[in-house]
Structure formats: structure tokens, C-alpha cells
């Protein structure tokens, strides 16, 4: 089914991310059923040519993905110039072109104005933008008028090979996350013994400042370090594929939930994290700590929400791990 995987990968690249896995899983089920029906008719497995014929009949990946766009927009001046299949790509090309042009103009206009003694008008500045719009629109209008010829000339056997899934083993990103988590955990675990790691040369003044952590801080600290150690173990299992993705997601959600709870409980303790004989020092230390807790809380809230959403979506759709 290598050909099918390559086809689904080509469609997936052009789909909106939020619905990508769901649409691809449905397409896969439908195409596989179609192939199985054909195999039953023939009484044997399909050859690569026969698989390619089914995929060709299913349609060019660009057209197929374009039809899944919910907005269904097109460009028309009286009659339709760019249909809904190509419109998303037209919009994307136009946006990229215009953004690049604006950035280049923003960089060049002051220099040109300086060189010409300010003799640059708004009309002149707008000419490149209008030119970009006209050129890109014309290209897509021509493409749309000839899409039947242009987009029909494709061969499933020439589609790019399937790229490795980031969830499928020791990828650079997974290893990087593991190393960063390991360094972070080690750093936090060693900080009480060597405050220099946190405060740098300022650690030398720590005894004079007389800072005292709140009585419950050691418990919070131990929970944070334990959660980080658990995350490190999770990342280790992910790197070596010793944990299925749904289970890894579940553990991830639980760990994020623990971190979020710690942040909330710490916020309830604000602003009495540390005491000092010097009120100003205590004020600034507590303020800094509180800001760190709020930032940590927001990051954790966002991460927990995202992880929970992905988990629920996968469960609702009964989707196995990404299959293309």
C-alpha cells in the first residue's frame, strides 16, 4: 500500500491541519474498501498499475484537497475566474507574494527616499503591490481555465516517498526535547545545593539578604522535580517507541495537569513566597516569583488544553496513530 500512503500524504499536505487526520483516515478507509472490492472481483491482489488506476480515478491530490475546503470560495468578476479548488492556493500564493513585497518595500523605501531626497510617492510605492496582484491572479486564472489538462497529467507513481512520521521513533525533534528536559530537570534539582546556577554571581549575596522560603515550599519543589522526572521518563519512552502514542498522550495530559495544579496552588500562596528582613528585597523577590508562576501557569494551561483536545479528538474519532 505504499502508493496509497504516498497519495494520502500528498492530499494531507494540502488539507487544513485541524481536520487533516480525520479526513485522511476516512479517505484511507474508503479507498481500501474500493481496492478490496476490486481484488475480490479479480480474485487476486492488485498490481501497482491497478492501484495507480484507482488512485488516478480518485483524483489529483490538489483537486481532492481543494474540495474539502469548507469556505468554498472563488474569485469572480461577473463570471468565475478562479474556482474553489484552486482558490486556497491562489490566496496562499498571493499572501506570500504580497507579504514579501511589503517587507522588501518597507526596507527599501526609506533608503530610496533618502537617496532621492524624499521624492517617492505613494503611487510609486504601490505599483509593485498591484503588479504582484495582477501577475499572480493572471497565472491562476490561466491555470484554472486549463486545470482539466494541467491537473489531469499526474501519475500516482511519481508522488514523493512517504516521509517519516515524527511520532515514529528517535527523530531529531524527540531527541532534542529529551535532552532539553534532562538539562532542565538536572538544573532544577541542583539549584538548592548550588544557588549559583539560578542567580549567578548574585548567589554570593544570598546569605546577607536573609531570604527565607515559605514553609510549604519544599513540598512544592519536590512535586515539581518529580513531575519533571516523570516527563523525562515519558520523553525517553517516546524516543525509543516504547509507549503507544495514545498512552503517551494520556500520560502527557496527566503530567501537564499536575504542573498546572502546582501553578494554581502556588498562585493561591501569592505574594508570600519568601520573607526577608528587608521589605524591598522581599517585595521584589515575591513579585518576580509570582510573574514566573503566572507565565508557567499560562504555558501549562495552553499545553494542557491542546493535549486534552488532541486526546479527546482522537478518542472520539477512534483514530489510530497517523497512518500516512
Amino acid at each position: 500500500m505504499n502508493l496509497l500512503n504516498r497519495y494520502l500524504q500528498a492530499v494531507a499536505r494540502l488539507l487544513p491541519k485541524a481536520r487533516r487526520d480525520d479526513i485522511i483516515a476516512e479517505l484511507r478507509a474508503n479507498i481500501l474498501s474500493q481496492m478490496e472490492d476490486r481484488e475480490q472481483e479479480l480474485g487476486r491482489s492488485l498490481t501497482e498499475d491497478e492501484q495507480a488506476a484507482i488512485l488516478r480515478h480518485h483524483g489529483n491530490p490538489t483537486i481532492v484537497a481543494g474540495r474539502y475546503r469548507e469556505d468554498n470560495l472563488g474569485l469572480a468578476f461577473g463570471r468565475q475566474l478562479i474556482g474553489p479548488e484552486l482558490f486556497p492556493f491562489y490566496k496562499m500564493s498571493l499572501t506570500v507574494n504580497l507579504v514579501i513585497t511589503v517587507v522588501v518595500l518597507a526596507a527599501l523605501i526609506p533608503a530610496i527616499a533618502h537617496a532621492t531626497g524624499g521624492a517617492i510617492t505613494l503611487t510609486r510605492a504601490l505599483i509593485p503591490l498591484v503588479t504582484q496582484f495582477v501577475v499572480v491572479t493572471l497565472i491562476f486564472v490561466v491555470l484554472d481555465r486549463n486545470k482539466a489538462h494541467v491537473l489531469d497529467k499526474w501519475d500516482p507513481r511519481k508522488l514523493p516517498a512517504v516521509k517519516a512520521n515524527p511520532d515514529d521513533g528517535p527523530t531529531a525533534a524527540n531527541i532534542f526535547t529529551f535532552i532539553v528536559t534532562a538539562i532542565g530537570t538536572l538544573w532544577l534539582a541542583l539549584t538548592p545545593r548550588w544557588p549559583y546556577l539560578l542567580l549567578g554571581p548574585g548567589a554570593l549575596y544570598l546569605p546577607q539578604l536573609g531570604l527565607q522560603a515559605m514553609p510549604s515550599w519544599p513540598i512544592f519543589y519536590q512535586v515539581i522535580v518529580a513531575a519533571l522526572c516523570a516527563r523525562l521518563a515519558l520523553q525517553f519512552f517516546i524516543v525509543f517507541r516504547w509507549l503507544a502514542r495514545p498512552k503517551a498522550r494520556m500520560v502527557d495530559v496527566i503530567l501537564r495537569g499536575v504542573s498546572l495544579s502546582v501553578c494554581v496552588l502556588l498562585l493561591l500562596k501569592a505574594p508570600n513566597y519568601v520573607t526577608s528582613p528587608y521589605p524591598d528585597i522581599a517585595y521584589w523577590a515575591n513579585l518576580n516569583f509570582e510573574i514566573c508562576v503566572i507565565v508557567g501557569g499560562v504555558i501549562n494551561l495552553w499545553g494542557t488544553g491542546r493535549a486534552l483536545f488532541s486526546l479527546l479528538r482522537e478518542r472520539h474519532q477512534m483514530l489510530p496513530a497517523r497512518q500516512y
Binding site: A29, S33, Q34, H58, R67, Y68, M318
Partner: protein, 112 residues
């Protein structure tokens, strides 16, 4: 050049009929591929790349409901008519029959 207006009009005519046919067929539950086969068996061929996105659109409009379920050791997305879909189907069928009767009366006087 002569085919183009006919082709455009044919597509326009088909578009509305397809929605009606899909809604009517989904009084019984189907997943994408079996729905396409059922429509084809009744004489209505429809491209996969048209049908599957159409199902999604009808679901977004609340006319269909779907659920992922395992069948033959594979997860498939099954669609059926929703409560609102049943109401809309009834209204569309009345409209369709009314138009059919009108067209029949008009076409009696036309020799093609």
C-alpha cells in the same frame, strides 16, 4: 465549444439532484464507499472527490450525523440522516415533485 454550455448546465442540474439523492440514500446508514456504490447501482454515478467532501458539508449543515465505528477490522465513518435532515429531505422531495409535475406539463408541449 458547443459542448461547454451543455456541460455547464448539466453540472448545474446534477448538483442539486446529488444532494437530494445523497440525503434520500442516507435514510439508511452508509460509509462513503458503500454510499457511492449504492448510488451507482441506482444509476447515479458520482466521483469520490465530489461525494466525500459533500458528506462533510452536509454534516456541517446539520443534515447528517456521523460516527466512527469498526467494521471488518477497520475504522470507518458512518453517516446517516439527522433529525433536521429528515425534515429538509421531506421539504426537498415536495419541491422536487412539484417541479417535476410542472416540467412534465411544460414538456408535453415541447418536441425535442
Amino acid at each position: 465549444m458547443n459542448e461547454s454550455p451543455f456541460e455547464n448546465l448539466r453540472l448545474e442540474l446534477r448538483r442539486g439532484c446529488l444532494v437530494l439523492a445523497v440525503l434520500a440514500q442516507l435514510r439508511a446508514e452508509h460509509y462513503g464507499y458503500t454510499l457511492r456504490k449504492a448510488l451507482a447501482e441506482d444509476g447515479l454515478e458520482i466521483e469520490e472527490s465530489t461525494l466525500y467532501p459533500l458528506l462533510r458539508r452536509l454534516e456541517t449543515q446539520g443534515l447528517l450525523v456521523s460516527e466512527w465505528r469498526e467494521e471488518d477490522k477497520r475504522n470507518k465513518r458512518f453517516y446517516r440522516l439527522s433529525k433536521d435532515g429528515k425534515v429538509v429531505l421531506k421539504q426537498l422531495l415536495e419541491e422536487w415533485r412539484g417541479m417535476g409535475e410542472s416540467l412534465d406539463r411544460i414538456l408535453k408541449e415541447v418536441k425535442v
